[in-house]
Amino acid sequence: MAADPGLAIQSNRLARALLYAALILFAVYFLLPLFVMLVNSVKPLEEIRGGNMLALPLAFTTAPWASAWNSAQIGVEPTGLSPYFWNSIKMVVPAVLISTLMGALNGYVLTKWRFKGDNLLFGLMLFACFIPFQIVLIPMARILGLLGLAGTTAGLVMVHVVYGLGFTTLFFRNYYAAFPDELIKAAKIDGAGFFRIFQRILIPSSGPIIVVTVIWQFTNVWNDFLFGASFADFDSMPMTVALNNLVSSSTGVKEYNVHFAGALLAALPTLIVYIVSGRYFVRGLMAGAVKG
């Protein structure tokens, strides 16, 4: 409402500048740890001991990465993180696929095949999102024992599917709530059954929410430490637990550069998932919120 339009533009510019300054500050704040990790993972150990964590490497080396991957001491054997990386993959891929598919089915039933008490059931499923991990540790250990899945990758997959179901159901239910019922009616009249409608009509229209769910589940399952530490044996131990063992080993010299490289290796898959599908993630989160 300034009388002078020039003044209005100027104050607008100032606000812009302040806004960008704040954003840049935050960006630096968030990127600094990544920078420290990257820089120090390609330095020889002596340079780190020299003191300046923020300095660029004088002698560039990939040895810490190689060591972290296949020769660092984890537990008894000098295997590096690679076997545990594959353990994590073997756990994450089925856990994500199963929990996403089941979440989609749940969302489909809860919105398109309504039954008495469906909202109550959904409310109860939402509880799964709020139960802290620690509470289920002992009952879950008992169940895994009874099922004969204790210490196996299959057991971990089951734990993560059960725990992820609340979230995946929530995502798909809200997405499908906005999906027109008339399409389902049309498909019923066209002669499609329960699974045909799901497979031919719903799933092909669920791209954005599948991406959101997969990213969400992938990061959660990949980054989980507590379940991995509690329920895995030495052969099924996921990457996060192995990284902890690498970093907190009490024998020998602390190889910080190897630790940094190992931590980056552990973070790499989730980073890649975000970079590849991040824009779909935002699009998917917005899909239910904004009409049109």
Binding site: P180, L183, K185, A186, A187, I189, D190, A192, R200, I201
Partner: protein, 371 residues
């Protein structure tokens, strides 16, 4: 093509009674329009016929076979939805072929059937497109095509034109009528638009608050509505409802407009069938605007026009004729005058009323009385 019987259908959602015993019988090849204000249960009835909702009581028969327990896909019906409900992830051709595919028709036959219907509806250039790439009118055509390609026993159309703009709606209305005449299909069509109902239907079922008010040809509903609801729902402008009293003048029954002492006009009725018992009682005189005109009253046999003196409040030229808001005492009514009428607003005028077309209603029961 098939006949359809709706026999004593009731539907409850919990404690709410949505349909209270509907009976409708249509022959093969009829075009039935279900019309009524929103919330009258017309779409629910359509969903019951389709099998998308369960029936609380009563029976639905297609070609004489009870279909109550049949799944929608086994009723051999096709439905066109208000939103068109085209599958967004499929091309137009796949949308049309989906129902055939679900019924296990081989690909070559499906393609041939789709091509034939696409030609009929002139949507061949659209076959490879997605629904999102179509205009409203094109989507409407594709939705019709998806129903036609199935060649079902009965077509169910749920307000198929209400999402189109006014001009396109009129075009598609004619288009649907042409299709019906060409294919001789049995159609049940739901709308809240009384003009669509009048123009399309071979018979109209007019509903209100879960009850069937009247089932008949458009002409019957227009000329001989069974009650005040039907009388005012059909026709635009709505039928004039004028409080009046029945009297006996020189041995014949007449309608005296206005109540008690303030009688404004007395109009003789050409027929007094079934009216004697109402003589001396209050009635409601129903007159459509086109029956109050500036046509002069001619002498002679079979003359049913009666003069009426009134005050003209407003005139509204519509092109083919002029609508006039008139006042008879303190009662307002719409009259339809000639396009070049000399009658001007603010003045008294002498009009004529065609009493052969008048309807009389009982103010208590709101039902029509007399023959």
């Amino acid at each position: 093509m098939a006949s359809l019987s709706v026999d004593g259908i009731e539907k409850k959602f919990g404690a709410t009674e949505v349909l209270k015993g509907i009976d409708i019988e249509i022959e093969s090849g009829e075009f039935l329009v279900l019309v009524g204000p929103s919330g009258c249960g017309k779409s629910t009835l359509l969903n019951l016929i389709a099998g998308l909702e369960s029936i609380t009581a009563g029976e639905i028969r297609i070609d004489g076979d009870r279909v109550n327990e049949r799944h929608p896909k086994d009723r051999d019906i096709a439905m066109v939805f208000q939103s068109y409900a085209l599958y967004p992830n499929m091309s137009v051709a796949d949308n049309m072929a989906f129902g055939l595919e679900m019924r296990g028709m081989p690909k070559a036959e499906r393609d041939a059937a789709v091509a034939e219907v696409a030609k009929l509806l002139q949507i061949e250039p659209l076959l490879a497109r997605r629904p999102a790439q179509l205009s409203g009118g094109q989507r409407q055509r594709v939705a019709m095509g998806r129903a036609l390609v199935r060649d079902p026993k009965i077509f169910l159309l749920d307000e198929p034109l209400s999402n189109l703009d006014a001009k396109l709606r009129v075009e598609m209305r004619t288009e649907i009528k042409k299709l019906h005449q060409r294919l001789g299909a049995t159609i049940v069509y739901v709308t809240h638009d009384q003009i669509e109902a009048m123009t399309l239907a071979s018979r109209i079922a007019i509903m209100n608050a879960g009850e069937l008010q009247q089932l008949g040809t458009p002409r019957e509903l227009y000329d001989r509505p069974t009650n005040i609801f039907v009388a005012t729902f059909i026709g635009s402008p709505a039928m004039n409802l004028i409080p009046a009293t029945l009297a006996l003048t020189e041995g014949s029954v007449t309608v005296a407009i206005g109540k008690g002492d303030t009688q404004e006009a007395t109009l003789p009725l050409p027929s007094d069938d079934g009216l004697q018992e109402h003589v001396g009682r209050d009635v409601i005189l129903g007159l459509r605007s086109e029956h109050i005109t500036d046509t002069p009253v001619a002498d002679g046999d079979g003359q049913t026009r009666s003069p009426l003196t009134c005050h003209v409040e407003v005139t509204e030229p519509t092109g083919p004729d002029t609508l006039a808001l008139i006042r008879i005492g303190d009662i307002e009514a719409m009259a339809r005058l000639g396009a070049d009428t000399p009658i001007r607003p603010g003045k008294a005028a002498r009009l004529s009323v065609d009493m052969a077309k008048a309807c009389l209603f009982d103010p208590e029961t709101e039902r029509r009385i007399g023959s």
